[in-house]
């Protein structure tokens, strides 16, 4: 699957200055996406997964401080002129947003909005654009596309709107599609259809996908490479099998334990106690230490780097061997977490 990387993120940092100080939303994220690859990024709300993708699109607010490097086919995007970023947005890198209810402008027809996306990056006439818009709606499986193109977003169901958003994303044959929680706002039955449509069209336009989600169930079936993010960093990275069957970072283990399994049957769900640390004044040491059931003294002083734990499998934890040795790592969350002085703060 891996070929020449088309998108390379290196040591990406994003900070938002506030009155109380800088919120470090992304703290050194590196990964790459090869052509036609599907990369999944999972993590809780506020772990920096959406901010990373917004940085790629150049859509962060002006106040955001972006460091590190994002290269698209060798072209540096961090600090690139607005015009250059705009030329890539929607044409080479497209995005699908979480909430299809609000992501479309309520006062224009769906066909018009698709046509606008097309015409932003081509010399298409208005007529040709609306014709192509109808073709695109047909492509994403919307019945009666001629009639639907004349309708407004409020006349579409949630699943239909997300299909229309997919149509918009693929309209200029992008190389990368960033799908930010594309199915979160949808019914479970519709989720699968929308994901299936997304995968089908990705092959049609030969695009890579960065799939951002907090739903491990969504990524299981479709992702080549999976990253787990916590507190603005990638804490574990590997194939779906690595992450699901050989997790080495306690946070990943906790995430999996919070996931209801259809096969598992009687197992109780085990939530991770506590909440992610504030990214405003992060303490030294591992950011997960306050919630980690196997926390050690060294976790409180040094933040571990991502290190190889298997072929193509990376984890950022000092206790990966300990986790690997466990027969059933999920059980660690059943025991009350050790209370270490200072670890309770900030939660």
């Amino acid at each position: 699957m891996s070929g020449e990387p088309i998108l390379e993120v290196k040591d990406l940092t994003v900070g938002f200055p506030t009155d109380d100080g800088v919120v470090h939303a992304v703290r050194g994220v590196s990964y790459s996406v090869a052509a036609r690859e599907v990369v999944g990024i999972v993590g809780e709300s506020g772990c920096g997964k959406s901010v990373t993708s917004m940085a790629m699109m150049g859509l962060l607010p002006r106040t955001a401080r972006i460091g590190g490097s994002i290269r698209f086919r060798g072209q540096e995007l961090v600090g690139a002129p607005k015009k250059a970023l705009r030329a890539l947005r929607g044409s080479k890198i497209a995005m699908i947003f979480q909430d299809p209810m609000t992501a479309m402008n309520p006062v224009y027809t769906v066909g018009w909005q698709l046509g606008e996306a097309l015409r932003a990056h081509s010399d298409l006439s208005g007529r040709a654009a609306s014709k192509r818009a109808i073709e695109l709606l047909d492509l994403v499986g919307i019945p009666q596309p001629e009639r639907r193109a004349e309708q407004y977003p409020h006349e579409f169901s949630g699943g239909m709107r997300q299909r229309a958003m997919i149509a918009m994303a693929i309209s200029n044959n992008p190389d990368v599609i960033i799908a930010d929680e594309p199915t979160t706002a949808l019914d479970v039955t519709v989720q699968a259809q929308v994901l299936e449509t997304l995968l089908r069209l990705k092959d049609e336009v030969n695009a890579a996908i960065i799939l951002i989600t907090h739903d491990l169930g969504v990524v299981a079936g479709m992702v080549d490479d999976l990253k787990v993010m916590y507190a603005g960093r990638i804490v574990e990275s590997g194939t779906v099998d690595d992450i699901f069957y050989r997790p080495r970072m306690p946070y990943t283990v906790g995430l999996l334990g919070s996931l209801p399994s259809a096969a598992g049957g009687t197992d109780r769900l085990t939530p991770i106690k506590g909440s992610p640390p504030s990214l405003l004044r992060l303490k030294p040491g591992c950011p997960f230490s306050a919630r980690c059931p196997i926390v050690r003294d060294e976790c409180l002083s040094v933040e571990p780097e991502l290190a190889g734990v298997g072929p193509g499998h990376l984890a950022a934890c000092v206790a990966t061997d300990e986790v690997a040795a466990m027969a059933n790592p999920k059980d660690m969350f059943h025991a009350p977490p050790l209370v270490v002085a200072g670890s309770e703060a900030d939660t």
Binding site: L59, G90, A94, F97, A103, N105, P106, V107, E116, A120
Partner: protein, 336 residues
């Protein structure tokens, strides 16, 4: 859309009927138009009774209402206490007021929307701080203060500074110079240009007073509305398409921000027909505001009735216009 418009128009009919009943009941209970006669011992009882009969005051309220309303629907609003027809008086006042408030309102809308949009797009810039500060100041000022201040500064000081104390350039009384007839003795009032010039020198200060207060509210409203649409998901989607920032702002954020603002403005248009009572008083314009005060003081029921019905109709009509504009701007309304 046509059905929507028709339905709104049909709803206006019962509204007008209800308004006319309310207006009539209120006016009938305002006071006795013959109070002066009754308290004057030299007027014989018979004459008062005659007058009562003439004005229909000896009839039950329902009969009086029916008599009044059946004439009013044909545009006949009767005569005032001094036996002069009511409609020409109200019409004259209406035009005086319209000349004042329409211009002020239109300019206020244009300035308010422009400043609001720029403020929102450049949020927290020095322009935004200055504009927000000024409009907050003006918004919290009573119009009496603004108008009186303008009258003092604009009229006295500026005319003094221009060296025109004897023949002031900026006028503070009334809406025109008397005599306004074009005669050989008064060549200054001849022609459209002279008329417009004369009107401009009279209208400058009262228009400015109304304008300052009204624009302040609109600019704040537009800014808030625009900030909301600028941070909306669909604006983000528009940016993600890679269209120009100008197009993002005008086609997406601005277009949507106008939906609530337009409605408010249309409703305001209806309400200001009743006159800017304070401004008209300070600058001595004989408009709707002045007419209302005068006819309340004199307890002149037919003028009051006519006045209230005209303003009620304006409010209802502009409500319909607001609804229609809302539907034009927002496709989600059209079906509802």
């Amino acid at each position: 859309m046509l059905r929507f418009a028709l339905r709104r128009l049909l709803i206006a009919i019962p509204l007008l009927v209800v308004a006319s009943i309310l207006v009539f009941v209120l006016v009938v209970n305002t006071g006795d138009p013959l109070e002066d006669m009754r308290t004057n011992p030299r007027i014989p009882k018979g004459q008062i009774a005659l007058q009562e009969h003439k004005l229909g005051l000896d009839q039950p309220v329902t009969v009086r209402y029916w008599r009044w309303v059946s004439k009013a629907v044909h545009g006949d609003f009767g005569k005032d206490n001094k036996d002069r027809p009511v409609w020409p008086q109200v019409k004259r006042a209406l035009f005086v007021t319209l000349r004042l408030v329409l211009l002020a309102q239109i300019i206020a809308v244009l300035i308010g929307v422009t400043i609001g949009v720029i403020s929102a797009v450049r949020q927290y810039s020095w322009f935004d701080y200055a504009a927000t500060g000024i409009s907050f100041f003006l918004f919290s000022m009573p119009i009496v203060a603004v108008a009186a201040f303008l009258r003092y500064i604009g009229a006295l000081r500026v005319n003094e500074w221009l060296g025109r104390t004897k023949n002031p350039l900026i006028k503070v009384q009334g809406d025109r110079t008397f005599p306004s007839k074009c005669t050989p003795n008064n060549p200054g009032a001849c022609g459209l240009r002279a008329g417009l010039y004369d009107f401009a020198t009279h209208a400058l200060l009262p228009t400015l007073a109304l304008l300052l207060i009204t624009y302040a509210g609109y600019s704040r409203f537009q800014r808030a509305s625009m900030l909301e649409t600028l941070s909306s998901d669909y604006t983000r989607t528009a940016r993600a398409k890679g269209i120009t920032e100008r197009r993002v702002i005008m086609r997406h954020a601005f277009r949507n921000s106008l939906i609530p603002v337009t409605t408010i403005m249309a409703l305001d248009f209806g309400a200001i027909i009743g006159g800017a009572i304070i401004t008209e008083t300070i600058f001595e314009w004989r408009g709707m505001g002045r007419l209302l005060i005068d006819s309340i003081n004199k307890i002149d029921p037919n003028i009051l009735l006519c006045w209230l019905m005209i303003t009620a109709t304006c409010v209802i009509v502009f409500n319909i216009i607001a609804d229609l504009l809302y539907a034009v701007l927002d496709p989600r309304i059209r079906l509802g």
